[in-house]
Symmetry: C2
Subunit: 315 residues, 2 copies
């Protein structure tokens, strides 16, 4: 199938939006910005064998390629609007592409984000997505806004994706509930939007809670105290790993794409209310303190040290 | 070097702009759109061994990765504003990254485009860039605007990049002037901007003149007649190849990143004036006709047939 047929195949299935003046098929897309909004742009690439195992179902790859990008918009409190897709494929495989689009476009349609352009090239399997969102000027959630005294919160449960990966690496059968979290992460878009203007700082948990929280602390010039026994875990994680392993996965495992955010302690009820409204479980796991660095402790106050501190792409 | 050090190295060298509210270093960039403009978005990926030979100098790779994207903005008549960069690298090599940034940022600074975010991951060498530009509502150059009776124009000279590639593939020493066109293409930004609102349709020549012009014809539901003897060639191309080879390279060779555009015949003087103002040579090579398809002929009116019709990524 020539490149142009691949593009036609993608174009035929992609939804549009009224603010897309020109979508797939020209040299570039033309998009209409609403007044008073800031444009929010993030980009993330998934490579076969690095970000997903060779042989992952194409629909799961498509879902995840968009999900990890939407998660960045969620962490800014932004409303998704448009995305582009660069696909590098070893060959031209219509069935693979159709499967990929099943996953990608299912998630795109869920969030009303229009695929407006992209690129298909020959090369090792790699998917690069750029997402565009909108946020009210002044309301965006930045990493640099955390203040001493803030509560630290996290959405959903932690460690599930890393648990699935640990089972897969050890050649064990992977618990389905954990596998679903690894392959089909849920970007916390509604929560992020609802927290915009309320939370002080936010980040999505992609490299591991402690590693990602450290980025917030660095950017905000503050420290953090985290109670690792307060970290939320799924029933599946508890049923699969012992307590020590669970804590390690929760505190340092990546790929969960939950939101970690900070908010003033006097906003505790407002934050709980927001989470209730959007139907997302949130858990208070610590507080921001003066100083620097992330200090993890057990419920009894004793220090907790991770075996490794989060996923590092280059070592 | 960990991923975060790579990002810090990039951030330290990237220029900003006043409309960048938040650049490299958060989950996403925050950008301020001027009122009355449309957002123009294009994305293109370069893979090692596909879009450039293994062993290409990193500075040339950096230049070209941005140039091919800027060329898409030029073809829309858009003013460059912001870009993101997704780098997949087999390893972490500070010297390689510095060289890459030398080329990438030299071109970025030339066009006042700010690098506002991106992603660095492990994987086979691949560079995915997304560019954002601005254009007045209604002035963008689309492929679909060509009308029967329009002149067809092309900027610069054609076939140089394909000539360099042909020499390289045959193991010959590559003529330096041709190599420069392959490795450091010039996106025709100023020409594209000046033509916005004047030209009827435009495309950049990346796959080969006849192939790219065919896209304009398809999108506009018109045909085209092209005089292959009128196609502009550089002195270096003429000095390196015989006339038959030259014509083939000019008509079907890709990677020149010149602009091919159409404009009303009564705008001939205005178009020539615009090109003079921006200092870019343009050549009238044919006309748009009713019907479909691109018909290439010699100066004597006899039909001309390409040996192959342009670069196809998947066959």
């Amino acid at each position: 199938m020539p490149e142009f047929d691949l593009i036609a195949r993608i174009k035929a299935r992609a939804s549009s939006r009224p603010d897309v003046t020109l979508g797939i098929g020209d040299d570039a897309a033309l998009l209409r910005m609403p007044p008073g909004k800031l444009l929010v742009v993030a980009t993330d690439t998934l490579n076969a064998g690095v970000h997903f195992p060779i042989g992952t179902a194409p629909a799961d790859i498509g879902w995840k390629a968009l999900a990890v990008n939407l998660s960045d918009l969620a962490a800014m409190g932004a409303q998704p609007a448009w995305c582009t897709l660069s696909l590098s494929l070893p060959g031209s495989d219509a069935a693979w592409l159709d499967g990929f689009l099943d996953g990608f476009l299912a998630l795109a349609d869920q969030h009303g984000i229009a695929l407006v352009g992209g690129d298909t090239t020959r090369g090792p399997l790699s998917i690069s997505v750029t997402v565009h969102g909108l946020v009210d000027d002044g309301a965006a959630l930045r990493r640099e806004g955390a203040r001493a005294g803030d509560d630290i919160w996290v959405s959903g449960t932690l460690g599930d994706a890393a648990g699935a990966l640990a089972q897969w690496r050890e050649g064990q059968p992977v618990e389905p509930a954990l596998r679903a979290r690894l392959e089909r992460p849920t970007p916390r878009i509604a929560l992020g939007i609802a927290l915009a203007g309320v939370a002080h700082a936010a980040i999505d948990v992609s490299d591991g809670l402690l590693a990602d929280l450290a980025h917030v602390c660095d950017a905000s010039a503050v420290g953090a105290e985290v109670d690792v026994d307060a970290l939320p875990a799924s029933t599946a994680l508890h049923a699969t790993f012992d307590d020590v392993a669970c804590r390690g996965l929760q505190a340092t495992g990546g790929d969960d794409y939950e939101l970690c955010f900070t908010a003033a302690a006097d906003q505790r009820d407002a934050v709980a209310c927001i989470a209730g409204d959007v139907g997302v479980r949130i858990t208070r796991i610590g507080r921001i303190v003066p100083g620097a660095g992330v200090h993890a402790h057990r419920a009894d106050g004793s220090q907790w040290r991770p075996v490794h501190a989060g996923y590092v792409h280059f070592e």
